[in-house]
Amino acid sequence: MNIHEYQAKEIFRSHGIPIPPGGVATTPAEAEGLARRYASTVVVKAQVHAGGRGKAGGVKLAKTPEETREIASKILGMQIKGLTVHKVLVTPAAEIATEAYVGIIVDRASKRPVFMVSPAGGIDIEEVAAKTPDKIMRLPVDPVYGLLPFQALQMGLFLYADIKQARAAAKIMQQLYAAFWASGASLAEINPLVTTPTGDVVALDAKMVLDDNELDRRPELALLRDETAEDPAEVRAREAGLTFIKLDGNVGCVVNGAGLAMATMDLVKYYGGEPANFLDIGGSSNPEKVVAALEIITSDPHVRSILFNIFGGITRTDDVANGIVTATQASPLKVPIVIRLTGTNEEVAVKILQQHGFSAMTGMDAAVQRAVELATGART
C-alpha cells in the first residue's frame, strides 16, 4: 500500500527523525493559511501516489501567502500520471548545502532488509546505481539484531566526512530502520537527506510503501489508506476481495489465480488482442465475487468482450457459473461473453450455463481466440 509523503513524514517524526514542519491543505485558502503561519518561502508539494511529481509540475516554491494560494489552486486538481491531486503539503523551504539518498528495501536475493545510501541524492537512485555504482553503499541488515550502531556509523561516514554530520546521519538511519520495521514496510526512503548551511542533517522528503499483508493485523496502518488517491475500480475490487489492475485494452478478463491470470493476458496479446485488465477472483471464489467482478469489468467502457478463464481446483466452477447467471440476470450484458471452465464440478457448471443460454468452452487457447475475435470484430 502506498501512503502519502505527509503520512510517511508523520511516521518518521514519531521515530525522532528531524523533518521541517508542514501542513496538508485541500483548498487554496488552506494552503495560503499555512504559508502565513510559517511566514517564509514555502514549498507546495502534490500528495499523489506517483513518482516524478517535480517533473510533472507538482512541486513548486512560493514566496508569499498569495503566491502559495495561486500555486495551490493550480496543483490541486492537476493530473499526475492519471491520478488527480486532492491534497498538497505546504512546508517551509529549507536551505540546502548537500543532498544525499537513504533508503531501505526488502531484498529478495539476500532475504533481508537492505539499506542503500548515496551521497548523490535528490535524483533517481536507479539512475545512480546504473551510472555510478561506486556512489552507492549497500548494507544488508540481520533482522534478528536490527541495524547495529557501528553499521549505521559506517553508512554515516560514507555520506559525510564531518564526524558530527556522520553521527547525526547514523542516528537518522537507526530511526528510519525502527520506523521501517514498526510499520511493516517494504520500502522506506529519504530522498533527499540534506545538510543545511549551518550543518544540520534534515530529511526533506519521505516515502514509504507498506506491506499489504500487514494491514489485517495492523488496523492503525490500514487507516492510512487514501481511497481518493486510487483508481475507483481498484478500490471496489479490493472491497470485494478481488485483485484488479486496469490496463488499456478491450478484452475484459476474469481468471482464478494470479499466474493463470497473467498467462491469460499474455495469450490475449499472443492472438492479437489487448487485455483490458488483470483480475484474479482468488481461490475459494463464491458467486458474489463473480458478480462483483462482472460489475467492475462492464463499468469499463472500452471493454468489447468478456473472457472467463477458470481452472477449478479449490474454485468450484459451478460457483462461477451461478455468479455469471446471477450477475447477468440483474443487469444484462451489453458485450459478448466467452466462458472457459474446466475442473471441479465442471459438468454441473456447464448444465447451469446451458440452462441460461450460455455456452462453455474447455480449451484456454480456443476461448482466448474467440474473445479476441469478438473484441476486434475480426469475425463474429
Partner: protein, 290 residues
C-alpha cells in the same frame, strides 16, 4: 521415484480444524497421503474425522507419531510462528500454503528454518504432489498421473493448466512442486532443479516462472552449467505493466528489473525450450523426451 515426498512421507496438518485445513486434510487422506496427526492448539486429544489424532503442539505430534513432514493452513498472522514451531520440532519438510504472510516475518522465518536444517516450501504455494504416492497441499490429484516429468512453478492454477495438458498428452509426473508467489520463500527453483537432476526417475523438467525478482535468471544459469536433463520453461506476465503487483506479492517489475523478456532471454541463453503458450510445453517436452 520422486523428490521431497513419497510413500515414506508421514504428514502433520497444522490448522487441521480450520476451514481450509480440514477440507484439504480430507482430500489428502483420500489421495492416499499418510496424514498421521493434526495440530490445533486447544483441541489436543480430539480426533479429526474420528481417526487422525489432534495435538496442541507440533512437538507433541512429532514425538507421538514419528511425523517427518508438515503442511500449514493457519491464518497469515500466525503462519510465521507455525513455520518456526515446525522447524523447532525437527521436521525435515515444512510446506506452508498460507497466502498473505507479512514479508518482514519471512526475513526472520527463513534464517530460523535454515539454521535447523529443515526444507521450507512456500509460503503462498499450492504445495506438491508425487502422483500415485503422496500429495501435500492443494494440487488437485485427478489432473496428475505418474510419469517421467518433474515440474516446478511459482504459480497455482497456471501449474494445474500445464499439468492438465501434460497428463492428457501421456506425460505423467514424478513430482510437481509449487514454490509459491511471495518475494521471500523457502525452496527456490534451483533447489528443485538440483533435486530433479539427481532423481533417477525424472527424465525432463518443466519450469514455470513469472515476472519479478531474479530467481528464474539464476535458475537458467544453473540449467546451463549443471544440468544434463532437458528443461522446458514458460514465463507468465509478458503483458504486465511495471510497478504493479500482479496478484502474487512477488510478481512485480521493479523499475526495469524482473521483466518477462529478461527471463525468457535467460532461458533461451541456457538452451532451454521456451513455450510461448502454456500448451506448447507439451510439444517442447515431446521433442526432448523419448
Amino acid at each position: 521415484m520422486s523428490i521431497f515426498i513419497d510413500n515414506a512421507t508421514r504428514l502433520i496438518v497444522q490448522g487441521i480444524t480450520g476451514r481450509d485445513g480440514s477440507f484439504h486434510a480430507k482430500q489428502m487422506i483420500e489421495y492416499g497421503t499418510k496424514v498421521v496427526a493434526g495440530v490445533t492448539p486447544g483441541k489436543g486429544g480430539q480426533r479429526f474425522e474420528n481417526t487422525v489424532p489432534i495435538f496442541n503442539t507440533v512437538a507433541d505430534a512429532v514425538r507421538e507419531t514419528k511425523a517427518n513432514t508438515t503442511v500449514i493452513y493457519v491464518p497469515p498472522p500466525f503462519a510465521a510462528d507455525a513455520m518456526m514451531e515446525a522447524a523447532d520440532a525437527g521436521l525435515a519438510l515444512i510446506v506452508c500454503i498460507t497466502e498473505g504472510v507479512p514479508v518482514l516475518d519471512m526475513t526472520r522465518v527463513y534464517p530460523y528454518v535454515q539454521a535447523r536444517g529443515a526444507r521450507l516450501i512456500g509460503p503462498n504455494c499450492p504445495g506438491l504432489i508425487s502422483p500415485g504416492a503422496s500429495k501435500v497441499g492443494i494440487i488437485p490429484g485427478r489432473i496428475c498421473a505418474p510419469g517421467p516429468i518433474g515440474l516446478v512453478s511459482r504459480s497455482g492454477t497456471l501449474t494445474y493448466e500445464v499439468v492438465y495438458h501434460l497428463t492428457r498428452a501421456g506425460l505423467g509426473q514424478t513430482t510437481c512442486v509449487g514454490i509459491g508467489g511471495d518475494p521471500i520463500n523457502g525452496t527456490n527453483f534451483i533447489d528443485c532443479l538440483d533435486a530433479f537432476e539427481r532423481d533417477a526417475a525424472t527424465k525432463a523438467v518443466v519450469m514455470i516462472g513469472e515476472i519479478g525478482g531474479t530467481d528464474e535468471q539464476e535458475a537458467a544459469r544453473f540449467v546451463k552449467e549443471k544440468m544434463k536433463k532437458p528443461v522446458v520453461g514458460f514465463i507468465a506476465g509478458q503483458t504486465a505493466p511495471p510497478g504493479r503487483r500482479m496478484g502474487h506479492a512477488g510478481a512485480i517489475i521493479s523499475g526495469s528489473a524482473g521483466t518477462a523478456a529478461e527471463k525468457i532471454a535467460a532461458f533461451e541463453d541456457a538452451g532451454m525450450g521456451v513455450a510461448k503458450r502454456p500448451i506448447e510445453v507439451v510439444d517442447l517436452l515431446k521433442k526432448r523426451v523419448r
